[in-house]
């Protein structure tokens, strides 16, 4: 096992360029795996001896990645910003409260103090809790490599199960979240218990001048927006009960049976979470 510990972003990008780029990759001893909090990477450490042989790029020495920057119109999170940082950030409570709500439901304190928002995105789990709230807020991912910078809306970032629009030589540098005034926002996480639970079904809902955003997790190969539901809300279609949402939902999600739950449960519960949440704010919901 080799660990590289760069102290600047350009050093990190240079290392990635030599180890992880295109044709060189076959020559390189092994590609570098970035580590932020390590809470995803180390979970299976004892069971997966092959991971011990890999080479790692420890990001923790790159100070600039720790920044939390509030502007009038946006919040920018450096790639090393943890859940805990935002839980302690008063501005966040009022400006972007779903970030705090989601952060407080990630694992428990040990994980909240180490786990990062960027790690949550790059781990690309369909069950990630940070991703749906960021996506509902129209977050934009900033990628860097030795070749330059690139910005991708989080909603377009995933292309399939664990497939991202990010090359092996790129790093997430920051996440930018626009500040808006919201008419409604709600985050719901359903796990198999109240803490330390992987989400079985979850949803983040936001309504602003930009329209409705409904983002669900654990119901498709990636965290996903639900465009049919969003359109139904924008069009103020009358909804009489959870079942009225089912048809629209089935166009947006593709849940499966797995070790944690069933497709049937995920479908039904998502419809019910949406219905009871929206009933509070939409006159079209009866």
């Amino acid at each position: 096992m080799a660990i590289h510990q760069p102290s600047t972003l350009s050093e990190a990008c240079a290392l990635l360029a030599t180890h992880n780029r295109g044709s060189d990759r076959d020559l390189a001893p092994s590609p570098l795996v970035p580590i932020a909090g390590g809470t995803d990477l180390y979970t299976h450490w004892p069971q997966r001896p092959d991971e011990h042989a890999k080479s790692y790029l420890d990001l923790s020495g790159i100070e600039e990645l720790r920044a939390v920057r509030w502007r009038n119109d946006s919040l920018t999170l450096g790639a090393l910003v943890t859940y805990w940082r935002l839980i302690q950030d008063r501005t966040c409570w009022s400006a972007l409260p779903m970030l705090v709500q989601a952060a407080r439901q990630v694992g428990a304190v040990q994980i909240q103090t180490r786990g990062t928002w960027a790690g949550n995105i790059a781990n690309a789990s369909p069950a990630a809790d940070g991703v749906p709230v960021m996506m509902a807020y129209d977050a934009v991912v900033e990628l860097v490599s030795s070749e330059g910078r690139e910005e991708i809306p989080l909603a377009d970032f995933y292309q399939g199960y664990k497939q991202m629009r990010m090359r092996p030589d790129q790093l997430i540098r920051s996440i930018r979240i626009p500040r808006r005034s919201f008419l409604f926002q709600r985050f719901e996480k359903v796990g198999s218990r109240n803490a330390q639970a992987i989400t079985k079904v979850g949803v983040a809902i936001a309504r602003s001048g930009a329209g409705w955003r409904v983002v669900a997790n654990s119901v498709a190969p990636t965290v996903c927006r639900c465009p049919t539901i969003e359109a139904l809300l924008d069009d103020k279609v009358t909804v009489r009960g959870p079942d009225d949402l089912a048809t629209a939902l089935s166009q947006d999600i593709a849940p499966i049976d797995d070790i944690r739950s069933t497709a049937r449960y995920r479908r039904r519960v998502l419809a019910r979470l949406l219905y009871f949440a929206l009933r509070e704010s939409c006159s079209a919901f009866e």
Binding site: S192, R260, R264
Partner: protein
């Protein structure tokens, strides 16, 4: 008195077997079966592993018979020709590091020609699935009293019901682990275990050694719950075999995933009730069938079945009772001892059934129980006349008061009519739990205990009872100190070591404080007599006498002893299953209040009251801790914990997906005790360790039924299952 080892454990300073240094040791790992059932065609050891200094052990290395000594000689130490469950041990390896041993074990391939596996204990096995006798039945038992068929035929009302409970994993905080080494001619095993003498007898048999050449020492043990009653024997034998072959010390420590995949669990059960009743709800006849999933080998299934059946009719009077039971062999991991030992399963069934009856005949569930609760002079299913002076109606009343049962019920009606998606309900369970070994078990065991008077005037308790987190050390100190009028600092509790302590039976069956505690009192009396003092002697007098005795008898040992004596009037017939099944019972009523979220179909326990009569409460903090811990484990079993089986193996064998409650999933648990000292228990105590696991599940299910109107009968009631019931 405070718990002795509590602070050390809380602050992480206690050293468990994995933490203890072991000079020059090798690390062991286990190669396991990939199939539920089949013939072993080959064990492929890759070339690069052969001759790499790796130590390999298989069944051919066994000096003695290939069985783990328990009730029946069917459990192989290492599979030879066939395998009967996934993760069954086939070969052992030892290497210079833990990682190297695990890597090597992962590279060794067990090639199995599969055979048809029996995977559902509820189904009659097909001819190809038969592996035990001609029906795969591991054990069959019957309890019968009165004229059941006649009474059922004559009863104006008959209510039937079927109930099912799933497996449960112990999740002791410390996984299984043993160290083994050779001390000259002697095989020493040191590790995490509940019952040193069970391990000793399994080792002497497997290694074909006399008892003098085997020594078993308990290390600090991070929880057991029964999981370290039967299973440590096999880990100990494995570690010893490797140590003998390697001629080096061995550490064999399971990680969580291996532990959950390969070790025993609570028996799944299917229970059917047919109950004859009068119009008012008096129970006239019970016809009960109990079927347990025994798993691949017998382990302790016969005794689990028997305890389950004895509790199956609940704490109610009835003259006509028939309980038929069997444990079925299946090709899953062997099921074994787990806190409650069959009783939680059958008490779940009867207590859920009582609410089903109440609903069906339109009687209040509290009234139904009041009408049928045993009163002194009435008999249990085995014909045991209960006459202990406990006011069982009072136990129930206390629980109703503390939980404000009636008030809550009316409040819930209003709440449920108002709320868009939350539904609240309250439910109760009345139950009992027999303490100590079943039937003639204690008499047969003839437990022996010593207390040593030391030359410096202190006293040491020599007992094989283990501290596994439940407080044995503290309560033994308290009992000995009180009995001898000494300060607790003057009492030592010996580390359980088969070379130092006599066999006073295993640390199981809620027997330690009640049965062994009484032995300590009697051994203390005996010690005092040996130095010529009577019961009036003060501690100072005793200590002076101990010092004087040793001055007169240099280098001699001064022991006070006691051997188990059965309380008078106890009769048990093992053939007919009639008589006094237990010398004492704890009595309890638990009340659960739940809130069901109709958006997520999740049931959450929002309040819990546990009232019990357990003889004398010796140490309120410890007793309360036992009850609260048991209730938490019961909440987990009822609502969260589900073993997901795939081809006989547990698919969710990690803590990510096997869901135990966190502190955020349990409500405040209010505990109350009623005291009625039991004259034959240590300081008047009855057993309490297992009791608290019996009540939570049925109380919670009854509360969910009250909240939602559905009729849940299969445990655990995970949201996916509750959704199907609600949406029906």
């Amino acid at each position: 008195m405070k718990r002795f080892e509590g602070l050390e454990k809380l602050t992480g300073r206690t050293l468990f077997i994995d933490d203890l240094p072991l000079e020059n040791c090798l690390w062991g790992a286990t190669v396991r079966s990939p199939a539920a059932r089949g013939t072993i065609r080959q064990v492929r050891v890759p070339n690069h592993l052969e001759g790499s200094g790796l130590v390999l052990v298989d069944h051919r290395d066994l000096p003695g018979p290939n069985v783990v000594s328990l009730i029946t000689d069917d459990w192989p130490i290492l599979a030879a020709e066939t395998v009967r469950h996934r993760y069954e041990p086939v070969m052992l390896v030892a290497a210079e590091s833990r990682a190297a041993a695990r890597r090597a074990a992962a590279q060794i391939e067990v090639v199995v020609d599969p055979l048809p596996a029996a995977l559902d204990f509820r189904q009659t096995p097909t001819a190809e699935q038969i592996q035990v006798g001609d029906d795969n039945v591991l054990k069959q038992l019957k309890i019968e009293r009165g004229e059941v068929d006649e009474a059922l035929a004559a009863a104006p009302i008959v209510v039937e019901g079927e109930y099912e409970t799933g497996a449960q994993e112990h999740v002791y905080l410390e996984p299984q682990g043993m160290a083994a080494w050779l001390d000259g001619e002697v095989v020493v095993v040191h590790g995490s275990l509940q019952c040193p003498y069970y391990v000793e007898s399994a080792l002497t048999r497997a290694l074909d050694l006399p008892a003098e050449r085997v020594r078993v020492i308990q290390a600090a043990t991070g929880g057991g719950f029964g999981g370290k009653e039967d299973f440590p024997s096999i880990v100990a034998i494995h570690a010893a075999l490797l140590a003998i072959k390697a001629q080096r010390p061995i550490k064999l420590i399971y990680d969580r995933g291996e532990d959950m995949a390969a070790t025993t669990k609570r028996h799944p059960a299917w229970i059917r009730h047919r109950t004859g009743l009068s119009e008012e709800g008096q129970i006239l006849a019970h016809d009960i069938e109990v079927v347990l999933d025994g798993g691949a080998y017998v382990t302790l299934s016969p005794v689990v079945l028997s305890r389950g059946m004895i509790h199956a009719a609940g704490p109610y009077a009835c003259d006509h009772v028939r309980i038929r039971g069997r444990a079925m062999m299946t090709n899953s991991v062997p099921f074994g001892a787990f806190r409650g030992f069959g009783a939680p399963q059958t008490l779940f069934a009867i207590e859920r059934h009582m609410d089903v009856i109440a609903k069906q005949i339109g009687v209040d569930p509290v009234k139904l129980r009041r009408l049928n609760l045993l009163t002194d002079g009435q008999a249990t299913a085995t014909g045991q006349v209960i006459d202990d002076g406990t006011d069982r109606q009072q136990v129930l009343s206390r629980a109703l008061d503390l939980s404000r049962f009636t008030y809550k019920r009316s409040q819930h009606t209003a709440f449920n009519a108002e709320h868009a998606y939350l539904r609240r309900g309250i439910g109760l369970a009345c139950f009992f739990h027999g303490a100590g070994f079943t039937g003639s078990g204690e008499r047969a065991m003839k437990s022996l205990l010593h207390v040593a008077g030391l030359a410096d005037g202190r006293v040491e308790v020599l007992s094989a009872s283990t501290e596994i987190g439940q407080g044995t050390t503290t309560i033994f100190t308290q009992i000995a100190a009180d009995q001898l009028r000494l300060d607790p600092e003057q009492i030592l509790i010996a580390q359980p070591d088969t070379w130092r302590v006599p066999d006073n039976g295993p640390t199981v069956a809620s027997r330690t404080t009640m049965v062994v505690g009484r032995l300590i009192e009697r051994a203390c009396d005996n010690l005092r007599e040996r130095v010529g003092l009577d019961a009036a002697a003060t501690g100072t007098e005793l200590q002076a006498a101990l010092v004087a005795w040793h001055e007169e008898h240099p280098d001699e040992e001064l022991l006070g002893s006691a051997r188990y004596q059965q309380p008078p009037g106890i009769e048990w017939d093992d053939e007919t299953y009639r008589g006094d099944a237990y010398s004492a019972y704890g009595w309890a009523t638990y009340v659960a209040e739940v809130e069901v979220d109709l958006r997520t179909y999740t049931a959450r326990v929002i309040d819990f009251v546990a009232v019990q009569e357990i003889g004398k409460v010796l140490n309120e903090t410890l007793a309360r801790g036992q009850i609260q811990g048991g209730v938490v484990q019961g909440i987990g079993w009822a609502l969260l914990e589900e073993c997901r089986w795939q081809e006989g193996g547990m698919a969710n064998h990690q803590l990510t997906n096997y869901i135990i409650p966190t502190s955020d999933d349990v409500p405040s648990i209010r505990v109350a005790f009623l005291e009625n000292p039991y004259p034959h228990g240590g300081q008047g105590a009855k057993g309490i360790g297992e009791l608290p696991l019996d009540g939570p599940a049925p109380a919670i299910f009854n509360a969910v039924a009250a909240a939602t109107g559905v009729d849940p009968r299969v445990l655990p009631l995970v949201p996916e299952r509750l959704m199907e019931l609600i949406e029906q």
